[in-house]
């Protein structure tokens, strides 16, 4: 599968190559076009990643309007959906990621209390 990085010109998507395999975070954000929700989600994701995973994450943005087939493998129904491919297990976070705490729970970045 070809990652759709920097497909949308209007957005800058940074890709920080992981330093080691262990702390590599591969995140995939599925969107449909540049809807407000998609933009919000991306902005929120960027923010969270910069805060929590600086330097060890990569984000693929997959626009299903352009390549609809790619949604099947991750069973994408809701949009936007953030999929944590690595580290395993796969987690799915749906919505515009505005609830930061839930995103962190979903990404398993919050220590279990």
């Amino acid at each position: 599968m070809k990652p759709m990085i920097e497909k949308s010109d209007s957005r800058t998507i940074k890709r920080k190559p992981p330093k080691t395999a262990d702390d590599k975070w591969i995140l995939r954000l599925y969107v449909a076009g540049q809807s407000p929700k998609a933009l919000t989600a991306f902005a929120n994701l960027k923010k969270i990643c910069e805060e929590q995973l600086k330097g060890k994450y990569s984000i693929e943005v997959i626009d299903l309007l352009i390549n609809p087939k790619l949604g099947n493998d991750d069973q994408i129904l809701a949009l936007p959906t953030l999929v944590r491919k690595l580290p395993v297990p796969v987690r799915k976070i749906i919505g515009d990621l505005s609830d930061t705490e839930r995103v962190l729970v979903g990404l398993n970045l919050l220590p279990v209390r």
């Binding site: 599925y30 449909a32 809807s35 929700k37 919000t40 989600a41 299903l64 309007l65 609809p68 087939k69 949604g71 099947n72 069973q75 994408i76 129904l77 809701a78 949009l79 936007p80 959906t81 297990p89 796969v90 987690r91 799915k92 976070i93 749906i94 919505g95 515009d96 990621l97 505005s98 609830d99 839930r102 995103v103 729970v105 979903g106």
Partner: protein, 576 residues
């Protein structure tokens, strides 16, 4: 006027034929084209299969590709499950006629973090539709989404949008839904899908289960409103459009022989009408089945196809028993002209029986159907229901120009004329077999109770089972009443004896006359003889007299010669 009608017709709802046996007849052509239809029902009532058959028939019969989006079963499971119905789904997928898409949501994997929509589902469905140019879509239990996605508000709004979107897309869709407690579907999908709602049901009454289908609503179209029984078997669905039948059967003047020549004679010499319904009723052991077997054999000999439903005997037993009265059925089975369908009446519910009958008749395409006996259905079922069912069967068979022969066992306590099933009004020809107990014997008699449209005999005949089959004898009706069996034989012998004496009398009279004639002739001969003797006597006397006269003349002439009176003359004549 005509133009207005035509435009109205064009404005009529377009329908997408489902190809499901019977369904298109109920709905007047199928599902509403380009609109979603809700198929709801409890677990295990066949929703998924209904959807799948709609797609498969769409491909194979109407060349309309389809998308099956499953929220429950995986593609592999689906392929295996429908293979039992004879659908090669894998092949159709390879040909790009059907797209299978398994949508799977794991609640535990999902975290909700704010606003979202189901655009992903839309895109996915859209992609699937466009990839094969689908005209038909099945969403199998979209309600699973309610379990997977926590935010019901969003979900409901999105579902509403989805159904609108499907309409805009112009695909004919089936959405299945689990039946709810008080609503048609658990999540109230009927709120969104309002064009056509079909309900499937699987009910158990008297330990027999019957599947039923009902079109709850169909906006913009007439439809059958009843509950229709349906079957799921190796050929998929088959629904029975029972009440679509009217009384517009085609009738013929064709006759079919009953297989018993004497019976044919009783029925105006030609037998039953083709396409009519014959009822043979009678008490136990009077030969109803034998009569049915005769009819069967006669039909097979004419090369007609016979479907024989036996509800009490196994086919082999029946064949064996009929062999004893000289009816060979086995080779007709081998030739494929005769088919037995043996099921216990309690094996299915009534509706199911109806459906099975339909199916068997449609598959075998018989000219003659025999149901032996029909009243075993009553066991445990209401009489009304049995009557309705038989009426449907009769209607169905008549509609197909099939001659039907039913046997019915009348119980001893009922009046014979009231057939237990109460279908007498449906019957065209009714033969009544009964037994008569007389002088220590039990004999069978038969008569034609009614036979519509023919001058049938009013005779009561004795019905005899011989090793040459059924024979009908005239019974003796005299001062002693109706005599059958040995009483009849005795009576016949008596009559025969009487006849013999009469014959002997005549002979004697003949002989006497002969004698008299001979006596008379002898007398005549006597007279002749005496007359002859007298005559010869007389002749002798006459000759004597003549001699005498001659002598006298001679004497006279000699006397003249002696007197020399006529010398010359005498001398001259003497010289000559």
């Amino acid at each position: 006027m005509k133009k207005a009608e035509r435009t109205l017709f064009e404005k009529n709802l377009k329908k997408s034929p489902s190809g499901i046996q019977g369904f298109d007849e109920i709905t007047g052509g199928g599902l509403p084209a380009g609109r979603p239809t809700l198929v709801c029902g409890a677990a295990g009532c066949g929703k998924t299969l209904f959807g799948m058959e709609f797609l498969v028939r769409g491909v194979t019969q109407f060349n309309e590709p389809g998308v099956f989006m499953s929220f429950e079963e995986t593609n592999e499971e689906l392929i295996t499950n429908v293979a039992s119905l004879g659908f090669d789904l894998e092949d159709l997928v390879k040909q790009k006629k059907i797209a299978l898409d398994h949508v799977h949501i794991e609640r535990s994997e999902i975290e909700e973090t704010g606003e979202y929509d189901l655009e992903g589902l839309f895109i996915r469905l859209n992609y699937a539709i466009d990839s094969i140019g689908a005209k038909r879509v099945v969403l199998d239990t979209i309600e699973s989404l309610f379990a997977g996605l926590p935010n019901q508000l969003i979900l409901r709004a999105e579902l509403r949008r989805l159904f609108r979107w499907l309409k805009e897309k112009g695909v004919t869709a089936i959405i299945t839904g689990e039946r709810g407690e008080k609503t048609l579907t658990r999540q109230g999908l009927e709120e969104y899908v309002s064009d056509c709602v079909v309900m499937l049901d699987h009910r158990v009454t008297e330990q027999t289960s019957t599947r039923r289908l009902r079109v709850v609503k169909y906006r913009g179209s007439l439809h059958g409103t009843n509950e229709y029984p349906f079957l799921i078997d190796e050929n998929g669905f088959s629904i029975l459009p029972v009440t679509s039948l009217g009384l517009g059967h085609i009738v013929t003047n064709d006759r079919v022989s009953s297989g018993v020549p004497e019976l044919d004679n009783m029925l105006a010499g030609k037998g039953y009408y083709r396409g009519s319904t014959v009822l043979v009723s009678g008490t136990a052991g009077v030969g109803k089945t034998s009569l049915a077997a005769h009819f069967t054999e006669a039909a097979c000999k004419r090369g007609e196809r016979v479907l024989y439903f036996c509800f009490e005997e196994s086919p082999n037993q029946l064949i064996r028993n009929m062999r004893s009265i000289g009816i060979q059925l086995e080779h007709w089975v081998q030739k494929g002209l005769l088919q037995f369908q043996a099921t216990r009446p309690t094996f299915y519910g009534l509706e199911m029986h109806l459906a099975v009958t339909h199916k068997a008749v449609n598959a075998f395409k018989p000219d003659i159907v025999i149901m032996d006996p029909i009243n075993t259905f009553i066991l445990g079922d209401k009489e009304d229901e049995v009557k309705t069912m038989l009426m449907r069967i009769v209607d169905f068979l008549k509609g197909n120009q099939i001659t039907a022969l039913f046997t019915s066992l009348s119980s001893a306590r009922n009046a014979l004329e009231s057939s237990d099933v109460g279908i007498s009004s449906l019957i065209d020809t009714w033969l009544l077999l009964r037994d008569m107990e007389l002088s220590g014997e039990r004999n069978r008699v038969m008569y034609v109770l009614k036979s519509r449209g023919m001058a049938n005999s009013n005779q009561v005949r004795e019905f005899i089972l011989t090793d040459q089959g059924v024979k009908l004898r005239e019974v003796y009706i005299g001062s002693g009443g109706v005599l059958t069996g040995s009483a009849r034989v005795a009576q016949e012998a008596f009559e025969h004896a009487g006849l013999l004496t009469q014959k002997m009398d005549i002979e004697q009279k003949k002989r006497e006359i002969e004698k008299k004639r001979k006596a008379m002739e002898a007398q005549i001969a006597n007279l002749h003889a005496s007359f002859k003797s007298e005559e010869s006597e007389a002749n002798k006397i006459i000759a004597l007299e003549r001699e005498l006269i001659k002598q006298l003349e001679k004497d006279k002439s000699e006397m003249a010669i002696s007197r020399k009176a006529v010398v010359d003359n005498n001398k001259a004549s003497k010289r000559k």
